[in-house]
Amino acid sequence: MDLIAVAWPYWHQFFFIIFAATAVGFGFGVLLSKNVVRMAFYLVLSLGSTAGLFFLAGAEFVGAMQLMIYVGGTLVLLIFGVMLTAQKDFINMDTHTQDWILATIVGGSLLMVLLFAAFGADDWSTPQDINDAQVEATKEATPLGLALTGIRVDKLGDSGDAVDDGKSGYLMPFIIVSIHLLVVLIGAAYMARTKKLSHATDDKSSRAKLMLFKMEHESEQLEEETYVVTHRGKSALNPLDPQNEN
């Protein structure tokens, strides 16, 4: 009962380790896997776990967006691309050994630097007390939305802030991003379009066009040919046929 009765303040750590381990583990999966489809699958899991970390850090809206846009949208697109180019030769592609060596050295040193930076600053590595009410407030998405329209709810108290003039916030970047997305949409559609008709259109589908064309013309001819005959079918060689007698 003693063990049970312990109040346990380590929930955050517990879930952090789970999510961080899966994110990093599947990140390694992406790196080490040769099969491009499996890479995509591992990437899904890695990014999903990252979304979990976002939730843990209190950024619920960003986490949900990560799941929705990144995992649900971008990666589906990516897998689509994988499948479109998935020929036997390209699914498994070995990396050159010298690339491995070089990348490991550079990557390892970069990791060292980054980790050193991450743990180097005392301000970052010392845990702080948590203010419940403020935490809950950050979880709300409305301030985010308002910030995108130029209203900074969290900086209300700041005197002399540009908020007063309605200039702060992220209205401008928001508009730039929306125009950017529009440009990307058009650009991607334009780029992926082949300039010349693909071979599929060249022969087979145009055959279908041709057939329809033929049909249209045939039906014109048919009008002369079709006429309603009410008499019964007869052998053309029937000597008793009155038609043959004249």
């Binding site: 312990v6 489809v37 995992v71 998405a141």
Partner: protein, 451 residues
Amino acid sequence: MADFVNYILNIEGSWFGYVVAALVAAVLILHVVAVGALLFIWMERKISGRIQDRLGPTRVGGKFGWLQTLADGIKLIAKEDVTPDLADKFLFKIAPYVGLAASYAAFIALPFADGVVGLHINTAVFFVLAVLGLEVFSVILAGYASGSKWSLFGAMREAAQVVSYEVPLGMCVVVPVMICGTMNLTTIANMQAGFLTNWLVFNDPFTFLTAIVYFTCATAGVNRAPFDLAEAESELVAGFHTEYSGLRWSLFFMAEYSSMFIVSALASILFFGGPHGPIPVTEILGFAGDSLGNPGMEAFSEETAKNDGFFAATQFGLILSRIIGVVNLLIKGCIGVTVMMWVRWSFPRLRIDQVMTMCLKYCVPLAAIGFLGATTWQALDLPTGTTLTGSHRYEYHELWTAGLKDKVLLDQDETADSSEAPIPHENDTQTEVNKVPLKTVPVSVLKGGER
């Protein structure tokens, strides 16, 4: 829940209560997924039977063939689990679990009634949609890994279809979010408490349109007829699950049926009042006591238990009203599922280009019209369904915020009159926000609900 367990065991603030509460919640949700799938498959067979002028299952388990699906499930478990030679073995085996996990995880944020929810997430609407969207991976992986051309066809169709339909679906979901000013499903549901006319679907003509578009897109999103191209049996044999057998095959169906329920339940929360019935019976009969004013309150309060004893702490009226709420939501979800079944057994299947045309030419513009129209309606402050019966939607919401009012007023200047407490979200102007920044936090999260 956690407090309750800890109180009974007399261990305060222990981890044990949380684990028990989590397990109970997980098992309950698992029941919605598994038992729900059993029920829905049985329902599908019965309903399709009735539509087709036959009886459906009649023997197993008594009069109505209640246990037919269970018997089939046992048969499926006993079946050999075949993996094709050409399959990518690892992905082939894992694919069904991905789908089931996705539709199971979406239940985390789905409130069955006020406070009856796995986890309060302020962005619950998007969380549910996002997690549900992950289900497409299972189909894609299954289709790719099967090593069958038919499966690959199914996977490609599914990928194209789901990615496209997420656009209008998201646009439709934004409408109730915009009207209620929150993405918290509990709050959205509670805002529709009261009479039928408070439901968002009757808010204005555009929400009505949006509700219809939402349901259409949701049907397409969960791959149900007439949009079930990924498993079109007359064209693709069985689409992405052609090569599956036994338990893995049945996992796909569990995922399909539970996601059908989720989108229906989401529709009912967003547009059809969620856990609130057409007539607020519990409020009228007074089960909930003053819970209408504070329904987000814990059904069990440790504080009260300490002072006034166990039974005083357990508000039976509130528990009862919550149970009724859960039943309401389940019934509404089942109605949505039934409509999907009805559609499935009545219509032929669309062709892939027609499905895409439907999305891009009809659903997206209609959703856009619905969104713009609903926005305009709100902006112009035109009469809504709530004004018809005179019961204002925000009336209830205002009462719920009452608990927080003192706190807010402390932060604010003293001129704020308690008789005209600011109504949140209705006038989202800068000045209002300036006045009541904390008002934007849904009270039910702060005050009630399982933490």
